[in-house]
Symmetry: C2
Subunit: 559 residues, 2 copies
């Protein structure tokens, strides 16, 4: 397991023996953001330390960012939800006079491996979706207050906010210059938010994306690229006014006390075992050992309340595997504990769902399970004797590409027989990116099976029952279990990692598409392709030559 | 312009001086398919000539196919609609004893350039979508009668049919072995149709796609991979029975006479000008010079009726550009003729929309405009004096990434001022892949603009009116026109072709997703990425080493 608290500025080299990237931070250690709150309004100020890149040699000029900057943003977005129930509007602004944000740092991007590039985009996308989730579901609104240029990822960050304000002067602008400058796409949802969220007319979007200098002033408003344009003289007043107006649309409590989010404490909640030879990581989630009795107890427990503590540990393990262990292509989910206690935790989450903190905890679980769906690793769930895949934890089995349940006990093993159990939370609390629950997605072609599963809520289901209900891929008894699982994992490890990534990205998200699935399924897939093409990433490609003064040389053939 | 009738077996090398691939064929020249009709039932028999590959050195064993085989299939699907109004069910079967179809030929695929691979997948996808369009909208049902293995593209072809029958013997099976055998994805919609059309449970889909030998018998039915499994003894009777049952669901006329589809006659309907230095192709669509007066006249004119003749010429030019001119990254649409006559043609298409032939012509126009949307080229429409972008032809302007209209006449040019005109057909006849009309897609964020456009139906709109209604990107007068257009085209030609392809694939399809947009947007994008990765296409990749006996060597890093 990774050291939970190494300093943030580590090199993004990955694999055995390398120093891992840590995702743990807090405002006292931020190098690039400042978080201030004043009543219902928080301000997140981006003021990137140019010398603070994860990539030695990259200088984070003009508020450009790399993963390290975004890890702090993700942390701040998370803390605002849990530590600041009173905050109803978050204003994102720049701490520098001359620029809002220049987007992802190109030198850092050019130095990164293909897998780091792709995972960096995925992480930043998840953070921007978390901002939109905070607005929609936690009612914590986001306001982008843009002074100076907001280019590329800088504008994409603004596009994740509810409202974009732009100073009406000659130097403040929004732009997506990736195509003309870098021969890649805006990679953080920019294209999808242009067309689907802001509904910019497509020929205008085309013009905008081909124009290095972007748009400003009235045209930016007319084209719906920003929501309003404000003269410098009234800027501060107007930002305050808008922030308060957004706050008025929120239902967050003004008299509640936040809970502190201390560093993630992994050991009590999760074991991470790495088997590099088999290319396998095993995540064993440990069920609750104690639970509060009521809502007051949940608030007292705070970050120690099992569902939240478990989700934070799981989330941390997932991003660790993505960035620090790219060679481990298979993630096996196991669990250990008392299924009844997991169901008891779910019952607390359901009984107090209207409480602000419980709402946050459910949303955190939702986002963590989405992070599971987005793992570009093969996911298997093994439901063994002594496991506790019940309710919320059963989502891990439904997120897996395949799940197996052990029939009966094992010789010389006194752990109870494996069961699977459903709770109310499996039927609505944790929608996937496609907007459906994992069970509804699973049973897209079998509405009767979905209804039958719902009727079985609350009961511990035996291996045979779980299989008959279609809730697992297969059930094996002791005679077959070890051999079948071993063969499956060996087979999986023999397949092309790239083809598996593409296969899983298609099979995991059937049914409806949303802006979120479009960002990951359409935009990201095209971006990954472009990241592989010599026109962007080759020795004469635009990414490599950016800033050198040499023009890239493009192969003109279209596909 | 290409020679309209070169023999089909040409080498797929492309660019100036190379022999182009022709898409013109007819049943008398098929080398790989047989088309037989008997009353309401047609049979399409796949019997690939192993020596008939477009790629010298590739042997099309076991009914495997390359583009040449699919060009014949596309031709047959098209002819069945127009030449055989009486056909209500098309049975697809194999002419070989030991195999249904082994999918795309790997040797041919390995020899192909990246752009040919991608365009081959796109063309085969369009053909399978044309099969589904024939069933849904022309009520010509498709039945796949599988005896022997249907592997990869063979099963994907079946999945495009309404009903899949499988012989219940030990040698007949369906499979998608791309992942284990070739380290790529099923590239012809297989994954999307598994999850979204056949609604196969996702863990079963995962198992199926990882199993080289696929599924047969009862399991294939249980997993919804096929619709029924039939013992060899009752096979022929049962196929006939199913074909008749499908025919009974059709509204196609039994007493109508088809129209013949002679070779495409381009010159009267379309000019194609290639400017390789500027990387620009200009397609000038010529408006109708004569039109029939009534429905009987439409039938008499047949393939000579302007909308159909124009659509066929345009369609042929589009696929020609894709395969034979990959270096031309920009397609400019122009038109010349009398807009009133285009509107008169539209009026005929609208007045007689319930006639089977008129229905087919409208559907052919719809498919052709979709082919435009799917061009991986930058599309510009220039609405100049003397042009006829009215009604159906205005779709080309709405399909373009940008469109420009000329204000006023030009000195020394007596052609009438440019206008744009809408007809009823712009508001429903030609949905894009996303299910919306191009105008609804354009005005996704402006329902009022859509309503205003609809109110302007039928009137010739001046440049100023068209611009005010948001129907064009911009209007320029004579002073600016030439310079603005020249600069735009030069700028476009300077951008990375790959980044443009990704940008356009994102901006052209906002709003809802359908199985069709998912196939092109999600599945194809991932496949393109995989096609670039060394694990598939590198010297030690699976595609390159297939059939050599040497195992591929994979980089284990996941992205």
């Amino acid at each position: 397991m990774q050291n939970p608290h190494p300093p943030i500025a580590l090199r993004p080299k990955t694999g055995e023996g390398m120093t891992p990237i840590s995702f743990q931070t807090d405002p006292s250690r931020y190098r690039h953001w400042r978080l201030d709150t004043e009543g219902a309004i928080a301000t997140l100020t981006l003021d990137v330390d140019p010398s603070g890149s994860l990539f030695p040699g990259a200088e984070l000029k003009l508020n450009s960012y790399d993963l390290g900057v975004d890890i702090e943003l993700a942390d701040a977005v998370q803390r605002l939800r849990f530590e600041h129930p009173e905050v109803r509007t978050v204003v994102i602004r720049s701490g520098k006079d001359n620029v809002f944000c220049a987007g992802a740092n190109i030198t850092a991007l050019a130095k990164a491996t293909h897998q780091h590039k792709v995972n960096f985009c995925k992480f930043t996308n998840e953070t921007r979706l978390a901002i939109e989730d905070a607005s929609e579901n936690s009612r914590q609104r986001y306001l982008a207050a843009i002074g100076g240029p907001a280019a590329g990822g800088g504008y994409e960050l603004a596009a994740a906010c509810d409202w974009i304000m732009l100073v009406d002067d000659r130097r403040s602008s929004v732009s997506l210059p990736e195509l003309p400058l870098l021969a890649v796409l805006p990679g953080t949802g920019g294209l999808t938010r242009l067309t689907d969220k802001r509904k910019v007319r497509r020929d205008r979007a085309d013009l905008f994306c081909a124009t290095e200098e972007g748009a400003r002033g009235r045209r930016a408003v007319e084209w719906r690229l920003v929501d309003e344009c404000v003269p410098p003289s009234s800027w501060d007043d107007k930002v305050k006014e808008r922030a308060l107006a957004l706050a008025a649309t929120s239902d967050r409590p003004s008299d509640a006390h936040g809970i502190a989010l201390p560093p993630v404490d992994t050991a009590p909640h999760l074991r991470l075992d790495l088997d590099r030879e088999r290319r396998q990581a095993t995540i064993t989630v440990l069920g609750p050992t104690e639970l509060p009795l009521d809502l007051a107890g949940i608030h007292r427990a705070g970050a120690g309340f099992w569902p939240l503590a478990m989700a934070r540990a799981l989330d941390d393990a997932l991003v660790h595997l993505r960035f620090n262990e790219p060679g481990l292509g298979i993630v096996v989910f196991k669990s250990a504990g008392d299924p009844a206690r997991v169901l008891a935790a779910d019952a607390l989450l359901e009984a107090h769902r209207d409480d602000w903190l419980v709402r946050e905890i459910r949303l955190m679980l939702k986002r963590t399970f989405k992070r599971v769906d987005m793992m570009a690793r093969s996911l298997f769930a093994l439901i063994e004797p002594g496991s506790c895949f019940a309710g919320s934890l059963a989502e891990l089995a439904f997120a897996a590409d395949r799940s197996f349940i052990h029939v009966g006990t094992r010789a010389g093993d006194n752990r109870p027989e494996a069961t699977l159990a459903l709770s109310t939370l499996n039927f609505g609390a944790y929608p996937m990116g496609n907007g459906l629950t994992r069970l509804a997605t699973r049973f897209l072609g079998e509405p009767d099976s979905l209804a039958a599963a719902e009727e079985a809520t609350g009961e511990p289901l035996s291996a045979d029952d779980a299989e008959a209900l279609g809730l697992v891929t297969a059930a094996y008894d002791e005679v077959d279990w070890d051999e079948e699982i071993r063969l499956m994992i060996e087979e999986r490890a023999s397949f092309s990692p790239d083809a598996l990534t593409g296969l899983e990205a298609n099979l995991r998200f059937p049914g409806p598409e949303t802006m979120e699935t479009r960002i990951f399924g359409r935009l990201t897939a095209w971006q990954n392709w472009i990241f592989q093409r010599p026109n962007a990433a080759g020795p004469k490609g635009a990414l490599k030559l950016y800033g050198t003064g040499t023009r890239p040389k493009f192969d003109p053939e279209r596909t």
